[in-house]
């Protein structure tokens, strides 16, 4: 039996310990904000927070999530809107929106450690998150807006 916390709630799982966290969140818990994009950690659509760090849930197996605290987009703002979500809305960042949960989770993790990221910091932190619609320019601007609120 694997025990973990998801968005502050205790959960237990007795299925395949090799199942990626992504499918547990989506298929078992019904938390659909975390997205499938590639299954191999190349696109960042499945990004969640584990113990304060951004991780790719599609390549994080359940056994390695045991005992950890997972935050998904649904829990990012803890009942309110996180500064990155507010900035994303203010700047109309999403086009199709599919990758944006992962983008926001990655951006939130960046802002935890760096309250004033420059362009190079942003490019480095966000290079693992693909947006096929091409919203990168707005993402960069929104991170700077969110940084002002976080700082």
């Amino acid at each position: 039996m694997i025990r973990l916390k998801v968005n502050g709630v205790e959960k237990s799982f007795d299925g395949d310990p090799q199942m990626p966290l992504l499918w547990y969140l989506r298929d078992e818990l019904g938390l659909m904000g975390t997205k499938f994009g590639c299954g191999v950690g190349l696109c960042g659509a499945c990004t969640v927070e584990q113990g304060g760090k951004a991780i790719r849930s599609c390549v994080t197996v359940m056994s390695s999530a045991a005992g950890s605290e997972i935050t998904t987009i649904e829990g990012l703002g803890r009942g309110r809107l996180h500064p990155v979500q507010k900035a994303w809305m203010r700047l109309n960042v999403p086009q199709c929106g599919y990758c944006q949960s992962g983008q926001m989770m990655q951006a939130a993790a960046l802002l935890k450690n760096n309250h004033k990221p420059n362009d190079a910091d942003i490019d480095k932190a966000m290079a693992g998150n693909i947006c096929r619609c091409g919203t990168y320019q707005k993402i960069r601007a929104a991170i700077k807006v969110a940084a002002e609120e976080v700082a």
Binding site: D27, M32, L42, N92, G97, R132, G134
Partner: protein, 763 residues
């Protein structure tokens, strides 16, 4: 032609809206006449007098507007309702947008071809103005005052002399009993009074997208639903010889396997066939699938090799082909002994790779199918499922979810057909999710094309004769097994309509047989055609020792309506009278892009280069200037892009700018690394490591979009940004490195200073 009908009392709207609501529908014959055969078999004339648009004004002041077009990130489900709301003088905060199911009553719902605004702008306005007229009539009758003494403001009718006011909701029921006004009676707002059109309206579903709400196809769930992953024939047209699922069935969570029969050629929208693994969750289905042992009969496409095929296309393009457009006599001019310039261009197959892969949820019960799908074309989903399961179309309900990207892939119904087939086979609701590998390997690819260009050049450096031949397997091969030539609609995409002022000009198209599924990808044939035409123009400019901007202006010639020399030119389904090719507008965007980018003030700096191109597609005019930096190692950066756009009347400038910013990134992916190849009929690529998509660090750092204010009829904006961007980028690479890009993607070229000449490094 637009016809508004009052359907407030009609049976079919019961349950949709409260009783007493004023419900209007608008029927429109869209100008769009898709050149390609519609998969659903509908023709534009079928749409006559079928309502495309619904608006319902309810007693609680809610204004429901049905968005019948699919939302895949363009913001169309906000933009079109905002046009209606403007003429209705509605309070936007009371507008509720409902996504329309697949329903032939909406007319053509296939959200492709960048024509949603073009086709629906006027009808949205007419519908809004009609409802407003009826609400005013209702108020005037109630107050016993003349209608022309009443006015409206944000959802309220006001009679100022008496100070009386009533909200639209209060008036809806009495308005619903009135006849629809004659169009001649309608008063449209003057442009200066528009509240939403031409202004920025916040995206309707923005909060859902920013909080992880389950709005996408992949997010749909049903009680008792199982999950499927499908092992498909590795070669297009292949079949199962035999298979062994013993190990599969031992995987924890796997319920069963289901064989899906191969398609009956031509493939059109049918499922590819294969073996589905049905399980309790996606992971178990994927695990079970890995344990399948399958022997395949790969069929006739097993000999398909994309590098040999490329050589075949090229060879075809070197022979005389079918003439599509002709002016003067190119052969006679070529024989006159002037300088001859020739070049071959090539673009490989391209995959869509939308972030949400193909996915659908289906349920089959009592002979009826309900499917939830991120589809661009729900009516084709209905007809394709009906045909597969041999049930009437009316027994297929298709709910359209938000699309996690579409780019043309989701105009295809194959993944929805798979879900419906499996739901019937297992007697339970099922979700079919494509893996990324499935998505890359089993796409409907944008066609590969070889293009041969030849010009005779006069003393002034201007061409006196111009020949262009394009050879590509056509999309029509999906529907007709023997289709080998481009149809007029796809040849019209940047080929037939080459806009240059050259006395001897010939446009040709060669035959090519398809060995994979060919489909529509954002801007489609414009991708390869604009690449060849506008890079060749740049080559001639440099050979003439002229500035590419001046040279392009000369090539385009004086402002005029382009004479297409009698060529068959479907013009993206628009009438040539309303939407002619106006070289004045081409020149205008070109000059604007040059001015805004500082083209004429650019300085030669080692390792940097500027490129320029201008292209009309989907009836919009776009010029792009791209600046690149290429370092000694050959690494490419794109610090700045300037794009000038004349798309006629614009509904929402923020949404339009966003489309062109996105198009620059999309074009970057195509140009840098977009390449699908095949060996023995099997697609070589499989995921983002070998089919890379531009990342934040590779995409243009800054894209400036310059919109031309215009009252001309609206044009497309979703696709037209891609073609000129790619050509301008390649021209910039030449300016920076001296290496000509004649083959995409750029990753095949060594751009380092030590690198060899611009010869392709692949066979």
């Amino acid at each position: 032609m637009n016809a508004i009908a009052n359907v407030s009392r009609r049976e079919f709207i019961k349950g949709l809206f409260r009783t007493g609501a004023l419900v209007l529908t608008a029927s429109v014959v869209p100008e769009i006449l898709r050149a390609q055969t519609s998969a659903s078999g509908t023709s534009p004339t079928d749409a006559i007098l079928r309502p495309n648009v619904f608006v319902a004004i309810q007693s609680d002041d809610t204004i429901s507007i049905v968005a019948a077009r699919s939302e895949m990130g363009t913001g169309i489900s906000t933009a079109l309702p905002s046009v209606l709301a403007d003429e209705l003088d509605a309070d936007w905060t009371r507008v509720k947008i409902q996504q329309g199911d697949g329903d032939k009553r909406y007319g053509d719902q296939d959200t492709d071809g960048s024509h949603s605004v073009r086709s629906f702008f006027d009808v949205m306005r007419t519908c809004g103005a009609s409802a407003r007229f009826m609400l005013i009539q209702a108020a005037a009758a109630q107050w016993n005052v003349p209608a022309d003494a009443c006015e409206t403001e944000l959802g309220t009718v006001i009679h100022r002399p008496s100070g009386r006011k009533a909200t639209y909701g209060q008036l809806a029921e009495s308005a619903s009993k009135l006849p629809v006004p004659d169009p001649a009676q309608l008063q449209f707002k003057p442009k200066s009074a528009w509240r939403f059109i031409g202004k920025e309206t916040p995206r309707y579903n923005l909060d859902a997208l920013c909080t992880g709400q389950p709005v996408f196809g992949i997010d749909q769930r049903m009680d008792g639903m199982l999950y499927a992953s499908i092992e498909r024939p590795p070669v297009f047209g292949g079949k199962i010889k035999s298979y062994d699922d013993k190990q599969t069935l031992k995987v924890r969570g796997v319920h069963q396997t289901v064989e899906i029969p191969p398609f009956d050629p031509p493939c059109a929208m049918q499922a590819l066939g294969g073996i589905a693994v049905i399980a309790d969750n996606t992971w178990a289905a994927l695990q079970g699938r890995q344990k399948l042992k399958v022997a395949w009969d790969n069929g006739p496409n097993a000999t398909y090799d994309s590098s040999k095929y490329r050589d075949e296309l090229k060879a075809t393009s070197h022979r005389p082909c079918k003439v599509i457009r002709n002016a003067g006599d190119v052969e006679a001019e070529f024989a006159r002994g002037r300088k001859i310039v020739e070049a071959d261009y090539y673009v490989p197959l391209l995959a869509h790779a939308s972030m949400e892969p193909p996915v659908a949820v289906a349920d089959f019960r009592d002979g009826k199918v309900t499917v939830w799908a991120p589809t661009q074309d729900p009516q084709t989903v209905q007809s394709a499922i009906a045909s597969e399961l041999d049930i009437p179309v009316k027994n297929v309900t298709c709910h359209v979810t938000t699309l996690g990207g579409g780019f043309g892939r989701k105009s295809m119904a194959d993944f929805s057909v798979e879900a419906a087939y499996l739901a019937k086979a297992i007697g339970r609701p099922v979700k079919v999710t494509w893996s990324r590998e499935d998505d890359i390997k089993f796409d409907y690819y944008n066609s590969t094309s070889a293009m041969y260009m030849k010009a005779a050049v006069g003393k002034d450096g201007k061409p006196t004769a111009w020949l262009q031949r394009s050879t590509f397997p056509p999309i029509t091969s999906l529907f007709k097994l023997d289709a080998v030539y481009g149809d007029p609609g796809h040849l019209a995409q940047g080929w037939t309509d080459v806009p240059f002022d050259i006395p001897n000009l010939r446009v040709e198209n060669g035959a090519a047989k398809a060995h994979v599924r060919i489909g529509w990808l954002r801007s489609v044939a414009n991708i390869y055609h604009a690449f060849a035409v506008h890079c060749f123009a740049d080559e001639l400019a440099h050979l003439a020792g002229r500035d590419p901007l001046d040279y392009l202006l000369d090539l385009i010639g004086p402002p005029r309506i382009l004479n297409l020399n009698g060529a068959d030119y479907p013009n993206y389904g628009a009438s040539y009278e309303t939407y002619p090719i106006d070289t004045g507008r081409l020149r205008h965007v070109l000059e604007l892009a040059a001015e805004k980018s500082g083209w004429r003030k650019r300085k030669p700096i080692s390792g940097t280069g500027w490129g320029i191109a201008v292209h009309r597609s989907f009836t919009s005019y776009v010029a792009t200037v791209v600046q690149v930096e290429v370092n000694a190692k050959g690494e490419l950066r794109i610090p700045r892009v300037d794009t000038a756009v004349d798309a006629g009347q614009i509904v929402d400038p923020m949404l339009v700018r966003t489309q062109f910013e996105g198009a620059a990134v999309f074009g970057t992916s195509v140009a840098r690394s977009g390449q699908i190849t095949a060996t023995n009929g099997v697609i070589d690529q499989s995921n983002f490591y070998d089919y890379p998509i531009a990342r934040i660090s590779e995409a243009p750092f800054q894209t400036n979009v310059h919109l031309i204010e215009s009252s001309a009829s609206p044009g497309g904006v979703g696709e037209p940004g891609v073609p000129p961007f790619i050509a301008a980028l390649c021209n910039a690479v030449y300016a920076a490195t001296g290496k000509r890009v004649r083959e995409l993607p750029l990753s095949k070229l060594d751009l380092s200073r030590a690198g060899a000449d611009s010869k392709s490094s692949t066979s």
